[in-house]
């Protein structure tokens, strides 16, 4: 029951990831997945696509740390986190988080905790292509609030 944490330019296959979670789930019973997609509109701008930059040496370290924190707080089975980088088009998949647990609440909380921390701690930066040219996405204050809700956890 090995976790999968990956940063990649290629698209991911949600079905294959779901099957990987399910395969290791004999004692789990609950699977929660989150997928983030490139939206057509963001902060009032029509989005053509986006470029995702990251800090390679830190990214895996950051994601591994977030997954480890989730494991300390809940009883979780298998965890998969995939984040894409590079050029993405409208509708493309950006991120996948999948969590299994024997308990429904743990699976939901674990997946949401990972996303809330990924959004505020993992070193990714989005640059959107809009009708007014490229622009760096600004951090959403709600993301910081969502993370703060979980309390301190280092």
């Amino acid at each position: 029951m090995q976790d999968i944490i990956d940063v990649q330019t290629d698209d991911f296959d949600q079905n294959a990831l779901y099957n990987a979670l399910r395969q290791d789930s004999a004692s789990q019973g609950a699977i929660v997945t989150f997928s983030g997609l490139v939206r057509d509109f963001n902060q009032g701008h029509a989005i053509g696509g986006l470029f995702l930059e990251h800090y390679p040496a830190m990214t895996m370290h950051s994601l591994t740390n977030i997954v480890g924190q989730a494991r300390q707080r809940w009883t979780l089975g298998k965890i998969i986190v995939i984040h894409r980088v590079g050029h993405l088009a409208q509708g493309d998949q950006i991120v996948f988080v999948g969590v299994t647990s024997a308990h429904r609440k743990d699976a939901f909380d674990g997946a949401q905790f990972i996303m809330d921390h990924l959004k505020t701690e993992a070193p990714f930066w989005k640059k959107e292509t809009t009708e007014c040219g490229p622009r760096w996405v600004e951090a959403n204050p709600n993301d910081e609030k969502a993370r703060a809700k979980w309390g301190n956890d280092d």
Partner: protein, 81 residues
């Protein structure tokens, strides 16, 4: 030698992704002051309240100590996911 990296909007504003510093700086605050010598733009970018710093791939602060051979990265708030 300290390896200094910049990401996202900061990298574009400073037109610099990476540089090496040989100066003896003990903490992030001292490193910012040293980099600020490069001009007003550098001072503004690095002193911004939202600018984050990571020392050897771990988030730190102005008070974080820096040792020879460390990798120090400056970047804006993250926006992945």
């Amino acid at each position: 030698m300290i390896n200094v990296l910049f990401f996202g909007q900061l990298k574009e504003q400073l037109q610099t992704g990476q540089l090496s510093i040989e100066l003896p700086v003990n903490d992030v605050k001292a490193l910012k002051t040293a980099l600020g010598q490069r001009g007003v733009l550098w001072q503004e970018c690095l002193s911004g309240a939202s600018t984050l710093v990571a020392i050897n791939q771990t988030i730190g602060s102005d008070k974080s100590t820096i040792n020879d051979g460390d990798e120090v990265a400056f970047f804006p708030p993250v926006t992945g996911g």
